[in-house]
């Protein structure tokens, strides 16, 4: 499946589940409100009866901000200090919701029970995979930051200009971003592996994610980058309009609030869209893989069966040969007895098994024997049927002859 197709299919599928978007959006809004509402209370109570803060309606004011933070910063810090816990809580919630999203996308149907059921079912395996990937991302961040920072720090005095440090810094940031993106993709495809295979092995999923991303590198990265680019564009558009919007009236505040929420809504939608599109290409490849696997498996099964059959036939032929040999031996014994006491039934073996010049004789290999036996086996029935038919015909013919007679 090409990217455009994955896109389109992902979009169409995402668009089918508005209830899912709303769940995701409200999860975001409600979590943010946990801190935003106390902030509003702090602002309202501390702005109090002063008209000093009215200046904020005209836009950012450094003096007002400085004064507010100087006198009321502690109250604000107590609340904003909760951001780290909120981030942790939202991380866990996102793991849960991602389970629901993937379940919905995979089943291609939404129901509240299957959405939350999927979230609950996949929570721990997705959490494990997310933590694994996050640890790797953090590891790379530390390694790159420490090595680049250390290098710049120790060599800075030798640089001709700060541009050298800029370029190193930018290169390191780009490299890290690249690594970050790759592992984010790995995390997504790893989850698809877990979902589609109903597996709980996060390491296998991680490895499968890596294999998949690198096997379809251009496709997966392009898909991810384009969908990353879109929110950046939207953010730019938002900031472009927002910077000139003073929010000085109640209507103005309401309008900006609606713009903001539309933006958040779009981010939530885009995240789902990314997952849906990724799942489309993964699913497509997964199905193809399954079809091939089924074909290969059927061939393998057939072969195995054939070999087993052959083994059975060989063993049967061996047994029958042994029986035949035994019979021959018995017959020989009997013949020996008869030779000692010759009778009218005596058979001249030499004569009987003497080489017939008219017939080309060939020594068969064991396989040829088996092959022939299988063929004979198969043909035996036909011969029997033919014989039966022949007998019937002969009987009928006899009856007719009798009738004639």
């Amino acid at each position: 499946m090409n990217i455009a197709k994955a896109y389109t299919k992902g979009f169409i599928q995402t668009a089918k589940y508005p209830r899912m978007w709303f769940i995701l959006y409200f999860a975001n809004l409600l979590m943010a409100l946990l801190l935003a509402l106390p902030i509003f209370s702090v602002l309202k109570s501390n702005f109090g009866h002063s008209d000093f803060f009215q200046q904020l309606l005209a836009g950012y004011d450094a003096t007002v901000f400085n004064e507010f933070f100087y006198y009321y910063g502690d109250a604000l810090s107590a609340i904003t200090g909760g951001i780290k816990w909120l981030l942790l809580a939202y991380f866990l919630l996102s793991v849960f919701l991602t389970g629901g999203i993937i379940r919905t996308l995979n089943d291609d149907r939404f129901s509240t029970s299957s959405f939350f059921g999927g979230g609950a079912y996949s929570f721990f395996r997705y959490l494990g995979l997310s933590i694994l990937v996050a640890l790797i991302q953090i590891f790379f961040l530390l390694v790159i930051a420490a090595s680049v920072g250390g290098y710049i720090g120790s060599h800075f005095s030798n640089f001709q200009s700060e541009l050298t440090a800029y370029y190193i810094g930018i290169a390191a940031a780009v490299i890290y971003l690249f690594i970050f993106l790759i592992f984010s993709m790995v995390s997504d495809y790893g989850k698809f592996y877990l979902e589609l295979n109903d597996s709980h092995n996060i390491f296998k999923a991680f490895w499968d994610g890596i294999k998949y991303v690198f096997k379809h590198f251009v496709k997966t990265l392009s898909l991810y980058l384009i969908l990353l680019f879109l929110p950046a564009v939207v953010m730019y558009v938002y900031l472009y309009f927002e910077k000139d919007y003073k929010m000085a009236t109640s209507i103005g505040i309401l309008i900006v609030f609606l713009m903001q929420q539309a933006f958040i809504f779009l981010r939530v939608f885009l995240r789902t869209w990314i997952l849906a599109s990724e799942l489309k290409i993964y699913d497509d490849d997964y199905l193809k893989l399954n079809e091939v696997e089924e074909v290969v498996q059927s061939i393998v099964d057939q072969k195995v069966k054939e070999i087993e059959n052959k083994k059975e036939i060989v063993s049967e032929s061996v047994i029958s040969r042994e029986k035949a040999e035994n019979k021959v031996l018995e017959t020989q014994k009997e013949q020996n007895i008869k030779d000692e006491n010759p009778s009218e039934y005596q058979i001249n073996f030499e004569e009987t098994f003497a080489k017939n010049e008219n017939i080309e004789e060939k020594v068969l290999t064991e396989e040829e024997i088996m092959q022939r036996m299988v063929e004979e086996e198969a043909g035996h029935d036909e011969v029997d049927i033919q014989n039966q038919d022949k007998n019937i015909q002969e009987e009928e013919l006899g009856e007719d002859e009798d009738a004639k007679g």
């Binding site: 008209d51 309606l57 909120l86 800075f156 200009s161 541009l163 900031l239």
Partner: protein
Amino acid sequence: MTKYLFIVLLFVTVNLKAQNKALSLRNANYDMDVRLNPETKIITGKMKLKWINISPDTLSELQFHLYLNAFKNSESTFMKESGGRFRGDRAGNDDLSWGYVNIQSMKIQDGENLTNKIQFISPDDGNKNDQTAIRVPLKDSIFPGDTINILINFESKLPKIFARTGFAGNYFLVGQWFPKIAVYEPAGMRARKTGGWNCHQFHAHSEFYADFGVYHVKITLPKDYIVGATGKQLSETVEGDLKTVKYRAKDVIDFAWTASPRFKVVMDKWNDVQIKLLIQPEHEDLADRHIESAKAALEYFDKHLGPYPFSTLTIVDPPVTGGGSGGMEYPTFITAGSFAKIPAGMRMIEMVTIHEFGHQYFMGMLATNEFEEAWMDEGMNSYFETRIMDETYGEKTSFIDIAGFRVGDLEMQRNGYVYNVNRKLAESYRYAWHYQQGAYSTMSYNKPATFLNTLHRLVGDEINDEIWKTYYKTWQFAHPSTPDFLKIVNEVVTERKGLDFAADINDFLVQAIYGSDICDYKVARVSSRWINDPQGILDGLQIKQKADSAKIYESRVVIKREGEMIMPVEILIRFNNGKEITKYWDGKSRSTEFKFRSAARVVSAKIDPDNKNLMDVNLANNSYVVRPDDKPAWKYAVKFLFWLQNIIQSVVWFV
């Protein structure tokens, strides 16, 4: 007798000034011939100091600053006070990083050899390991008006740059680099009770102090080096791989220079002043920002303080590795500071250029003692910096104006003081090295810039300009002190606004300069209640409420003084019928109450409605509105909500 001699001397020197068109007394003059070895970072030189005793005192010793010895070892006073860190830079600890100045020989021309008489002194802290100040006893006294020529051979090893001076690769900023005679202050000068040398050690938080003179300096160095220096370049000659440049600077208190083969030279002009910008190649696109801001400063000072009397101005843009030498002032020679690709809305280059140029006045011409009264150079200069920056780049946008984030220069200076936890830690009038916990910059830059802007707003533009112009005219090319400035303020304000107003202004400045109290006035309460007509039994008569009687309200406004600083207070009171009343209070008692009886209720009260008093540390409590508007709270709560939603949504990338 002494007084008589002093008057004669002053007469002679003033005449001397007139004859030579000298702007200063030129009592400390240097002729130097020096050579820079870029490999060893050593400057070897010889100099002749021609020093005139312009005091009425007979002197038996000389004192010199050897500033560069601050970088000689870890035990110098500078290093111990700074901990080897200065403005974010750290001193190096390899052999090449140390710096020093050695006097190899010192003698009086045609006279006494002083080399063996040199004694290190540490008048400020008694640190025996500090070698930044010396005294040299003389066999023969120097009488008032006497001239003494001293020949000195010296070697200056430049340190790796971390505090103003030294080298960074092949960039050299050579400041505080030669043996420099201290200032002799006779009794009465700068309110001194007795005469004496003013020769402080080099401290982490202090700058310099010197007499005026004429400098002739010959510098020899590799020919590929581009040079800039204090004063005017007279010549440049090349001989083999070396070149020699000659500079002359008149009526200056110091001489600094720079050299680097990487400099790009940008020349420009403002009136008759030649502007020379030595800029790093990677910053070449920022040249205009340096030049234009320097021109803005030249224009502003010329208009509001006094003319720039020199014919040159050299601006140096250090490389980032020599950033410690940035943001420094020397006569006609300043260092700015920039980073490649710095956005236009981040006006650090402009601010630093304007600030350092301002030091041409507040230090270069109004040559205050930076050791003892740092507020007079840094504070006054910061005040002018706020004026120039805000006028040139906008009141609330002059320092930063990027993506809706705006900070004005005055805002930055004021906020640095009023919202500083150390705002009560010290006075502005204090020896620079006596400040603790970072209070030096707050008290010598931020607070003076704030109270001088307050003074400006209190007296108005016209009187304010008159104060500064008078101060400049009176004290240019001399050594003013705090009382000298206060005297001029009092004289001008008294003449223009009367004695009472001048007394208030004087009280304000004295509290601001010599005190550490903060100013905070507050509208504590605004209330109104309906007053009924008299009713009940009054004087035996039953009085009933009249049906048609008009409603009368009694409104009260309570003002409190929360801080210790006392200032007159102006209060604007608004009524619900649109009427406004302005009330005045001397601000001395802890609180006062204003009562009003009228048909209208008070809806708001505001202290200092024209926002003149920038010293008030809490502007939020300066007003009280009976029915406040919640919109600001809604606006920022909504903004906060949005950014929080974005932040938490970003966590999804880790899932």
